[in-house]
Amino acid sequence: MSLTSTATKQQVVKEAEEKKTMVVDSKNAASLVSELRGTFSTGKTRSYEWRTTQIKNIIKLVEERESDIFEALRSDLSKPELESFVSEISMTKASCKTMLKELKHWMKPEPAKTKLTTFPSSAEIVSEPLGVVLVISAWNYPVLLSLDPVIGAIAAGNAVVLKPSEVAPATSSLLAKLLPEYVDKSAIRVVEGAVAETTALLEQRWDKILYTGNGKVGRIVMAAAAKHLTPVVLELGGKNPVVVDSNVNLKVAVRRIIAGKWGCNNGQACISPDYIITTKSFAPQLIDALKSTLEEFYGKDPLQSKDLSRIVNSSHFQRLAQLLDDDKVSGKIVHGGQRDEKRIKIAPTLLLDVPHNSLIMKEEIFGPLLLIITVDKVEDSFVIINSRSKPLAAYLFTNDKALEKKFVDSISAGGMLINDTCLHLAVHTLPFGGVGESGMGSYHGKFSFDTFSHKKAVLYRSFGGDASARYPPYTLKKQRVLRALLNGDIIGLILTLIGWPRK
């Protein structure tokens, strides 16, 4: 995935003029940020009422404009309506509802315990907005990955700029048009564009940047942020492994794998299974079950199925075609492989035991190709997974509790799911984010609120109880008092104060 766009600058300018939206360059990016800082400094975005009003309006947006959203997603991705409904609209609303339900509680300061060392005192942690934040979204869930972080930013009381992905241009356009109609545009703005516009935005000083996308651009974002000491959340990807043990309910397991792979934007999702590892003996059964369930879901000619997203654009289509055409790999296709270049579609494809040094084994697939790697014993899969960079998600299907425990203990990933795929995304009490190459930071639910907040430590001290031991000149007795205080040692303190000799 790259930031390149097929539109030229002229086209972008022309379109923007037609829409009367701003074409962003360094100069007006700076004034945009300045304007939002002005809004933020009025304190308007801090109030509970402002935050909840914006979030309620986002619910209205997705409800009232649902058919426009479906249309945009169809245009950009040929996303089946049901997928659009569940994974984009529904998830966005769920996120809003969680915020509305919990925000009052989250906004309250958290009391913190204090000890003898600072006695008498009381302490609390106060959540405050960071200021003006930037959300850079991705193309595969262009509504969810734009609005979900924006909702978090708003819930935490920030002003926010959203840069939707230009690789999903219809959705980008739609968001640019709709958001100003529904939310407070003095504090929440959409900037469309590609590399040049994103670069102009990244030159500015933000109080936080949340980026969803790939590792190459993630590095660029972090390097730009470094110039301003801006903290970042990078939601990246990786090769998500699925380990399948032989003692599972195969029918259920296979349905869940298929739902997580091809049911999620036809494999173009950061949490989609990328490769399966199973035993040599179990593989034939697994492959048969996959084949028959794939046929059940998508019919004999999946290229005709309306229930699969297409590949987003020709450039990605070529990328995936090349992975399949690789000499080392083309002979390993055991199911599927059909393509339609005109309609940019590729059928669900299974490949068995591709060589470890093939490109398809090295890079994140992000498409409808699923690899199956076989091992002698299922535990051997852990070595394979640990030899690669940490993925965003790791999945295990098993009924063996000991294997499950070993999996959780020895494999590091952003998140893990046992006996299912992708679902953890929807559980808002779990942080969603990567580790290592799959990213840093997390969001969803309260984690969104926290990620866009500064947790300010507040300590209240009284004027009483001022131990002279703190102050110079430093006598031996004072030093003993200090020691006792720091060690939280009440007895030692009393003894010192009453002059009990110390060994």
């Binding site: 509802k97 942020a225 203990d409 020895s410 998140g415 893990m416 020691r483």
Partner: protein
Amino acid sequence: MDLVHLEDNMEELRECFRSRKTKSAAWRRDQLEGLMRLLKEKESEIFKALKEDLGKPPAEAYRDEVGVVRKSLNLALSCLDDWMAPKKVHVPRIGFPTTGELVPEPLGVVLILACWNFPFTLALDPLIGAIAAGNAAVLKPSELAPVTSSLLAEYIPTYLDNKAVKVFQGGSPVAERLLEMKWDKIFFTGSPRVGRIIMSAAAKHLTPVTLELGGKCPAVLDHLPNHRDGEVAIRRLVNGKWGPCYGQACVAIDYLLVEEKHASATINHLKDWITKFYGDRPLETNSISRIVNKSHFKRLRNLVQDPTVAASIVHGGHMDEDNLFIEPTILLNPPSESEIMTEEIFGPFLPIITLKKIEDSIEFVNSKPRALAMYVFTKNENFQKRVIAETSSGSVTFNDAIIQFLCDTLPFGGIGESGFGRYHGKFSFDTFSHEKAVLRRSFLIELSFGSPPWSDYKLQFLRAAYNFDYIQVFLMLLGLKRK
């Protein structure tokens, strides 16, 4: 440890981490206990090193260094099991039987870059967090505190597992080499300028960073009608300025804001207590640290070269280059564009800025980059509320200074130019951990309607259902029965 074998050392650290040795609670406990023994057995050497590097008096060396590290070790040892335990999370009821939990796991091999002013604390406090979280670690102490750096390089390998915890000594060239390597986390304490360099280097490897930087920490002194309170406040102000490493601390008071009409009384009280604390020859009476080196001495001297700044000195100002000593110095309303008012002072100069009314301090503070800490001396609760709501800083302490550093239940870290990320107490453990989300589903309960081929009927059903709970819907789709 020299750089020639850096790659080999890195490989050894990675191998050690891969072997899962550092993951065990027993190993972590061992290391922490090893550090505790180091503190106990080598305390007088540590005091000596701090005296040589910074002229730190033993009381300061204990209060700000050995005592702090000991407190952190005690906490980590007593809380380790609790910190390491997975935490269950609530999963929507419709998801039954599904369970969720958060499992903390180490990041891998981490790099800690310490600063010179609290060379012991700023090396070991983060290290305690890294070890408690189960990581392997490399520590680069500051070369500007060479004796402490040497001490750490000598004893860490003997008291700790030297395959998992290593010390590299040296200045910028060493730091640059280390930054070329791929780390799983970098923890840096120092200046914003270097913070930017660290983060840029980290970006190449997508390494998360914690940057503990500095800034101009303001103190605000409201009128305190009770005479005794006023005295306590002054003592705490003096201690908050010249106490921590003689003003060379990220949390030291940088400048003081006070109402015009109370300015001269305040200055007089400050003078009194400065004399009471430090006497006439503070270096000789072992009450203060010295200026760390000639380069910083010159930097500080430059801050008061400008005649308009020098003219604003109302107390002190005497400088002794040979002994690297500058008298506790108070300035009254130096020009606002002067460097002493725009740059972090990190030394024994205290500018006092007068205001018409104390509430104006909020606007003043907001006109500067956000500080690591803010200290407000007031009993006016409304003013306290306004400070919290209308200013932003790493932390706010009311009616005292510096002491928030000791409160382990409060996160310690900055915002904006003063940094990001935090540590102390459990926050140290968290900062060196990855909180892994784990969701477990059972094979029971599967719903066949929730799969393609999609039909209008299925969509209709969902629409009817979705008005109640969207998470339920999503879960239903992936195969759970709805009650």
